[in-house]
């Protein structure tokens, strides 16, 4: 097993420990995996923040071909009702199963925060070993983006009788598609 595979295994194991799941896939494989995940979970519509990587995957067309309504603009409006949400995230942490959003783009934040089933997409090459490595990376940036968000699993609460329950205000289900780029 190569270093990249080991990194992915750690990421996946730690994400599962916080009720999330992940897939390792190449760009051509990605669209089918995401379409199937949405179909299996009965997601009829989704917001999608297009980026060059997601366009390369042909995600929008694949979802629409599968009968899923896809919104790529007016995200603020559609995120109020759309069940699904897909966007690219900028990096990840293997030791925690976390992904990070870095940047100003409000649509990506809406998609990751408001959907019932959120799928984040991250390049394997951007996953760092641990929390300290991520902080070192953030500290080395010339200017910190206006928003940096760590996401570690679906939203959760234990506020009633200490019973852990997922999906309070944010996603009930969270998956990360890790793009095998190394």
């Amino acid at each position: 097993m190569g270093a990249a595979d080991v990194m992915y295994e750690r990421f996946d194991k730690n994400l599962q420990a916080v009720n999330g799941n992940s897939w390792l896939a190449t760009v051509p494989e990605a669209a089918d995996i995401i379409v199937n995940a949405f179909k299996e979970n009965g997601i009829p519509d989704t917001c999608l923040c297009e980026t060059p990587l997601l366009k390369e995957m042909g995600l929008k067309k694949a979802l629409e071909d599968a009968g899923i309504t896809v919104y790529t603009d007016h995200i603020r409006l559609h995120s109020e009702t759309a069940k699904g949400g897909i966007c690219e995230t900028q990096c990840g942490i293997a030791d925690l199963g976390s992904v990070l959003q870095l940047g100003d783009d409000v649509d990506a934040r809406l998609v990751a925060g408001m959907s019932e089933y959120y799928i984040g997409i991250v390049r394997l090459s951007t996953i760092v070993d641990d929390y300290d490595a991520m902080f070192d990376q953030l500290c080395a940036m010339e200017e910190l983006p206006t928003f940096v968000g760590f996401i570690t699993g679906p939203s959760r609460t234990a506020d009633i009788e200490c019973v852990s329950t997922v999906g309070v205000h944010g996603p009930l289900k969270l998956s990360i598609l890790v793009v095998a780029d190394v």
């Binding site: 007016h74 603020r76 409000v106 925060g113 206006t146 609460t157 506020d159 009633i160």
Partner: protein
């Protein structure tokens, strides 16, 4: 007597079965969950780093405020430096008015609660919605948080369903997953329509102008993403200098708070991020971003006070609550503050909320020191609570306590009283009973849930000269400090210590001028009497004449070591007290250190469990030596009990002041003892011995409680 209103609130909390069930369960499982979350992370190093970075910020607080203001402003934010809660609230009020804000969604902000923001804006006709599920529930109930991290633990799912039914006008079933869905649905509407979001910061970074918020539910992100106006309210204690400094806090905060390695969301906002300005046209632009830095006189008072300055290092993780035996029973409402609860809450309430309330609630602390072990900022919470107690006692001491402590500080008077008591006690004992089971009238609380040991007919100081000490070629001379309980109650334990030390070649002397160690005065905040007693014992013990001073009561040992602190302003006594402190050891530590470890023993089966004294384990760090001594003894089998280092509820005068709290703590300890099936409980503290044996006797349980010194002496055939 503690304040009657507080007593009533304590009774009310004890009657809440949901609270005792959920909080009790949480507190029981918390230590292990927390420990597990630290796998691969060194807690001690992390908290040292936290102290370092927060200490730096505290020392440079004006620079932090200036840098943060400059850097946040440069990124499009607006910063207001408020020098009082009133000024902060006025700023918020004007901002809300000026921007025409009608609805606000809030994620947890303790500082905003200090401003009474919801009430003030509510009175102005603004709808302020708490969005954290627990906060939302207690807002519906019209109550205050019972816990800093889990505010609605006092309510069960049935009560939550009723509150939701009233609010939504639709029937809500008492199913937690469904209730969470209701909250999602109700709150989603609020998020999408709110004019303003209000957040609290976990950390603010001066060098970058960044504020951090961590949540699990995702409400924090909604508050920061949806409304066009975003307001942060936070106190000056949230500052660190650099982004890298912030990392340490987020290593400890989730682990200490909920036993998570990281919460679901950790969000960093640096200035004005993008928002959607019009959802129909999809127009986007920077949000209006405001930060109110709360720099009120209470916070400055903390920074200026040498005894309390480290409060600044608190990261608000709530770990001190989760390990506190009294908090586990009572929850946060008895602490009276709408904002801060538990040990740290007592201190914060003193400076930031109400000194009067803090004066009462500081009494709830058992001084067991468990909070100090887990504190994310390394705060000396028990010591600071003691300081509050001292300051309160200086102002107005309870006359009954004063009379009692004055008497205890007068050795001759106190010892005469104990001798008289030994004659009077048969009136409260039934023939054949080894212990007093019921005391009359106002003393009845003392025997609630436990029996009391009888006072020895002959005190140890009268027995001591009759004990033969045939030690050939003695290796050294040790002075025994008996303390009250060994001198006047547990004379057999004191005798065992002599026998044990003789057996390894040491002669023991008992300086007769010694008296009470002064712990009762200390723990009741009476520094004057504590100092009088310290001087008396420093003179009496003449440490220069001995190789070591031995005590078999960890509270006494700890007190002997602390004398130098009481006498620091008296150069002559300070040096003598320092010498005494350096020679003072608790029995098991000293006996182990001087070569007492041996495989000797009569081999007769003895199934023991061990209870750790708070002072021995946490103040002196001794927990392995006694176990080694006991388990090496032939015939002795040790089964560890659950939560062996949790206080037994004795706490010196605590069990007298708060029997209603001490009794259930003791009951839990008894349950843990029973679960082990042991026939003997080994202890190293006569106070614990009194409390636990009393609890066992009151329940008719045939389990012995013995001091380690006695077990060793008996099993080695020394007495």
């Amino acid at each position: 007597m503690a304040n009657e209103a507080l007593k009533q609130e304590i009774q009310s909390a004890l009657r809440n079965t949901t609270l005792s069930r959920t909080l009790g369960k949480f507190c029981e499982t918390y230590p292990e969950k927390r420990l597990k979350s630290y796998a691969g992370v060194n807690f001690e190093e992390t908290r040292d780093s936290i102290r370092e970075v927060k200490g730096y910020a505290a020392e440079h607080i004006d620079e932090m405020i200036e840098k943060f203001t400059k850097n946040c402003t440069a990124r499009g934010g607006h910063v207001f430096h408020a020098t009082s809660t009133e000024e902060a609230m006025e700023y918020v009020r004007n901002l809300v008015r000026e921007k025409g804000v009608k609805t606000i969604v809030k994620s947890k902000s303790m500082a905003s609660e200090e401003l009474h923001m919801n009430k003030v804006l509510g009175d102005d006709g603004v709808l302020v919605q708490e969005t954290d599920l627990g906060e939302f529930i207690i807002a519906l109930e019209g109550n205050t948080p019972v816990h800093m991290v889990m505010p609605a633990l006092h309510l069960n799912k049935e009560q939550v369903a009723d509150l939701f039914t009233d609010y939504t006008k639709e029937k809500n079933e008492p199913i937690i997953a469904e209730e969470v869905k209701t909250a999602r649905k109700v709150m989603r509407e609020k998020f999408t329509h709110a004019d303003m979001g209000v957040s609290g910061a976990n950390v603010a970074v001066a060098e970058t102008g960044t504020v951090f918020t961590m949540t699990n539910e995702g409400n924090g992100r909604m508050v920061g993403t949806l409304p066009k106006i975003h307001l942060y309210v936070f106190g000056i204690e949230k500052f660190v200098n650099s982004l890298s400094d912030a990392r340490y806090i987020f290593k400890a905060l989730p682990r200490n708070g909920t036993g998570q390695r990281l919460t679901t969301y950790l969000s960093l906002y640096t200035g004005a991020t993008e928002v959607c300005l019009d959802k129909d046209t999809d127009e986007k632009g920077p949000k209006e971003f405001y930060c109110v830095i709360l720099d009120d006189p209470g916070r400055r008072e903390i920074l200026a006070d040498e005894d309390f300055r480290e409060v600044y290092d608190c990261i608000r993780c709530g770990a001190c609550l989760d390990v506190c035996p009294a908090f586990a029973l009572l929850g946060g409402h008895v602490y009276g503050s709408k904002v801060y609860t538990g040990g740290i809450g007592t201190i914060l309430s003193h400076f930031l909320v109400s000194e009067e309330r803090a004066e009462q609630i500081q009494n709830i602390c058992l001084q067991c020191g468990r909070c100090k072990e887990v504190c994310g900022g390394g705060l000396h919470i028990p010591e600071m609570i003691m300081k509050l107690r001292e300051r309160s006692t200086e102002k107005h001491q309870n006359p009954t306590y004063k009379f009692a402590l004055d008497a205890v500080s007068d050795r001759k008077l106190f010892h005469s009283m104990l001798r008289i008591a030994s004659i009077a006690q048969p009136a409260f004992m039934k023939p054949g009973q080894p212990m007093m089971r019921h005391l009359p009238m106002f003393l009845s609380g003392l025997s609630e849930g436990r029996s009391l040991p009888k006072i020895a007919q002959v005190p140890f100081r009268d027995i001591f000269p009759t004990i033969p000490q045939n030690v050939e070629n003695p290796k050294g001379k040790i002075a025994i400090f008996t303390g009250c309980l060994l001198d006047f109650v547990y004379v057999d334990t004191a005798t065992a210590i002599i026998k044990d030390l003789n057996s390894i070649g040491y002669v023991v002397d008992m300086p007769m001028g010694q008296s009470c160690c002064g712990a009762p005065a200390t723990y009741m905040g009476d520094r004057k009497n504590a100092t009088v007693t310290a001087k008396l014992n420093v003179d009496a013990m003449s440490a220069e004449n001995y190789d070591y001073i031995v005590s078999a009561c960890p509270t006494c040992t700890h007190q002997l070591r602390e004398y130098q602190e009481f006498l620091k302003d008296d150069p002559e006594y300070y040096e003598k007290a320092k010498a005494l402190g350096e020679k003072a050891y608790d029995f098991c530590k000293l006996f182990h250190m001087l070569g007492g470890l041996s495989d000797e023993g009569d081999g007769k089966e003895m199934n023991i469990t061990y209870h750790d004294s708070c002072h021995l384990k946490r103040s002196m760090g001794v927990y392995e030596e006694q176990r080694e001594l006991l388990t090496h003894t032939k015939g002795v089998h040790l089964t560890e009990m659950k939560e062996s280092d949790v206080c037994c509820g004795f706490g010196g005068t605590y069990s007298i002041k708060f029997p209603e709290v001490a009794t259930p703590i003791l009951a839990k300890k008894i349950e843990h003892i029973k679960e082990t099936g042991a026939d003997t409980v080994a202890v190293d503290c006569p106070g614990c011995m009194m409390q636990i044996s009393g609890g066992l006797d009151a329940r008719g349980l045939d389990v012995d409680v013995k001091h380690t010194a006695v077990i060793i002496a008996e099993k080695r055939g020394l007495m």
